[in-house]
């Protein structure tokens, strides 16, 4: 499926502009990242406590910008049809366990209880593992970020008819009913998320939705304020179709 043909021309041009602008920002962001690293390493002399605090704040603000630009670039590849889709027979349970491994420390730090219900007899499904790795990363990262200390995360991956069903349930703050229709919109942030709490790009769920869309799957959620949320998606068992990618627009 080629998303290029279906997008209205103006929207595609907008994403091309975003892609070019994001690329231009990457070089100065790398410079800030590396110079703060040099300052913090002490190679050029020891910083006093206040200097160190400030350089650390520059560094983490910069990391947030890098993250935002990364997500924008990933999205722009999908929205302009430049993304590579290279489906290979994939064991979703294994793919998921690789993702969990990356978050082990964060799960431990928040004392979260992880319950995995990964079906043992799942067939391998032809998907692009880079894209679905990204989708799981975003769902797990949210379930940690918005969870309470000591809360539960439950993950289900199972077959339902002609689809593979994945869900991630957290015991977090949930999403107020009045805001639920906006969840998959860009830059959505629920009002009940406390000020000063961890901030994301506001694009994570939108990116997940687009990844599922182009694979011909469905995505949805159930949420109760104060109790938690379940985000789920399905994939056709027949897998996704391949698509040749294109080199970066900036070239």
């Amino acid at each position: 499926m080629n998303s290029k043909a279906k997008k209205p021309k103006t929207e595609r041009m907008e994403w091309e502009f975003i892609s070019l602008a994001s690329h231009q920002m990457r070089t100065p962001l790398s410079a800030v990242k590396w110079f703060t690293e040099i300052l913090l390493s002490g190679d050029l002399g020891k910083l006093n406590t206040e200097q160190r605090d400030f350089v650390e704040m520059i560094s983490s603000s910069n990391a947030r910008m890098i993250h935002l630009i990364d997500v924008l670039l990933k999205l722009s590849r999908i929205e302009t049809g430049r993304v590579t889709i290279d489906p290979r027979p994939t064991d979703l349970s294994k793919l998921f366990q690789d993702v969990i491994f990356e978050f082990e420390n964060q799960i431990k730090m928040k004392k979260l209880k992880l319950k995995l219900k990964l079906s043992q007899d799942l067939p391998k499904i032809k998907i692009d593992s880079t894209l679905f790795h990204e989708a799981y990363v975003n769902l797990i990262s949210n379930s940690i970020k918005f969870n309470r200390i000591g809360g539960k995360i439950e993950v289900v991956i199972t077959r339902k008819g002609n689809e593979v069903f994945s869900s991630v349930t957290d015991a977090g703050c949930g999403i107020p009913r009045a805001e639920q229709h906006k969840v998959f919109q860009r830059f959505f942030r629920a009002k009940n998320v406390g000020a000063g709490s961890e901030e994301g790009s506001g694009l994570g769920l939108y990116l997940v939705k687009r990844i599922i869309d182009i694979a011909g799957g469905r995505i949805g959620f159930e949420s109760q304020e104060g109790k938690g949320s379940t985000f789920w998606f399905t994939l056709p068992i027949s897998g996704q179709k391949p698509k040749k990618g294109e080199v970066s627009l900036v070239r």
Partner: protein, 122 residues
């Protein structure tokens, strides 16, 4: 002392490399595009090249293609460090003979130092 040729058009990025790699104990030569890079290659005779890809005049892809065409440089480790992150960009650089590929914003300078050390040991 091992010699590192840095081919990078951004002056700030080049300066960050220079500061860190000198501190670690490498001899450094900077070139600001592929054309300068090829000249420096013959004079400086590096043990490894750090190569940016998007550069004015002669870009990194072209420099890679030309240097791999010279028999004595066919085995020289070339680490492509770029902000191009699309799979096709990475595959093209590897096809043209880059030994390894790193996306700049994904890594720290310490990561790059580690990568250089492991490429030099091979």
């Amino acid at each position: 002392m091992k010699k590192v040729l840095i081919v990078e058009d951004d002056k700030f990025i080049a300066s960050a490399y220079k500061t860190k790699l000198r501190k670690v104990g490498y001899e450094i030569k900077l070139a600001y595009d592929g054309e300068e890079g090829l000249v420096a290659l013959e004079k400086f005779k590096p043990d490894i090249i750090i190569l940016d890809l998007v550069m004015p005049n002669k870009d990194g892809f072209q420099m890679l293609k030309e240097l791999r065409g010279i028999p004595k440089w066919q085995k020289l480790p070339v680490l492509a460090v770029s902000n191009l992150g699309q799979r096709e960009d990475i595959e093209q650089a590897l096809r043209l003979g880059a030994t390894d590929y790193i996306v700049k914003t994904d890594v720290s300078l310490a990561d790059i130092v580690n990568k250089i050390e492991s490429l030099l040991q091979k």
